[in-house]
Amino acid sequence: MALPMRDRSAKRMDVEEAAQDLRWRTLAKIERPLDRLIYLASTRDYNTGMYYHDGLAARFNQDIACQALAECHREAFRELVGSSLKELVAQVEGYIATTHTGPAEFIAVWRGLEPYRVAVPVEADMLSTQLLFSNLKVALAVLEHHLIHRSTGEQVA
């Protein structure tokens, strides 16, 4: 059922407040947009598309928390799409360091499974999504090249 204009505006303000709360308390500690995207995607139920965050839902309510998480997810996505290739390579490299996985193994798995495909917001437009996936593919190739280059250098040394 459609909400009256005044209720909609009040709800919008609540969503904005919840999103701000999420940015200050949680997302501010996650420096890289790639990490934020993955974190926010992990709060989403893949079957329903609904986002869940107990703390935020307790402070506001489930519906407001869901919308705030979705908004922050879109923000992280936009930021990541706007990153240059050099920045993206640095972000993937930083992310690898937090996973406690070997870079070679990580690159092989990300290439094979392409897990980033499920991390985009539902409303993401096709072209931005295509650009991000393409950039990630190239970023993995760049990282692999750096890895080979580094290990060859170490062997020579």
Partner: protein, 194 residues
């Protein structure tokens, strides 16, 4: 006898009125669909395909410089192939939405929008330039790669921004609260040339 003729005449008139009303209803329904289709095309252009940040990112020279200076020839080839694919996908989607908008202007726009003759003429010219530019851009991207057609990219985005501005006026009465959930606010100024 006269009564019967009168009765049949009134009946025929009623049937004709009913037929005319039914046709008008169907036309209005089709018109509403055309309007929504045009609004969607305009939102997609302004919110998804023309924002300066996205177009600049697709054709960003700093990405090419980075790949050229810090990776191998294989990675550079992969990068160029990927960017070419994305750039051509952008042109394809742009063309599709432009055609959709043009169809609206050719068919239903004059029923709703009060465009004067000179604006309609300008619009027709812009559509022609734009569709030609899309074709030329696709060809240039295929032949010269993603970084060989910067001038045509500029021309195309500028012409698309002008078309959006005029279309925005003709669709102004049908402004949804949130036309673009994902992209930038739909203003033609956002989508100005690079």
């Amino acid at each position: 006898m006269i009564q019967l003729i009168l009765f049949l005449g009134v009946g025929a008139l009623l049937l004709i009125s009913l037929f005319v009303l039914a046709r008008r209803g169907a036309q209005a329904e089709g018109g509403a669909e055309a309007l929504l289709e045009a609004r969607r095309a305009l939102s997609s252009l302004q919110g998804e395909l023309l924002p300066t940040e996205l177009v600049s990112r697709i054709f960003a020279l700093d990405d090419l410089d980075y790949v050229t200076s810090s990776t191998s020839e294989d990675v550079r080839a992969l990068f160029l192939a990927e960017r070419q694919r994305i750039a051509r996908s952008w042109v394809k989607q742009l063309r599709r939405q432009i055609v959709s908008l043009r169809n609206f202007h050719l068919g239903s726009a004059r029923l709703y929008a009060r465009l004067n003759f000179s604006t309609e003429l300008t619009l027709a010219m812009e559509f022609a330039i734009l569709l030609f530019a899309c074709g030329a851009l696709d060809l240039a991207l295929r032949i010269r790669g993603p970084y060989g057609a910067q001038r045509i990219v500029d021309t195309t985005t500028a012409a698309a921004a002008r078309v959006c501005e005029i279309s925005e006026k003709s669709l102004g009465f049908l402004r949804p609260g949130n036309a673009s959930p994902f992209g930038n606010p739909p203003t033609a100024r956002n989508s100005a040339a690079l």
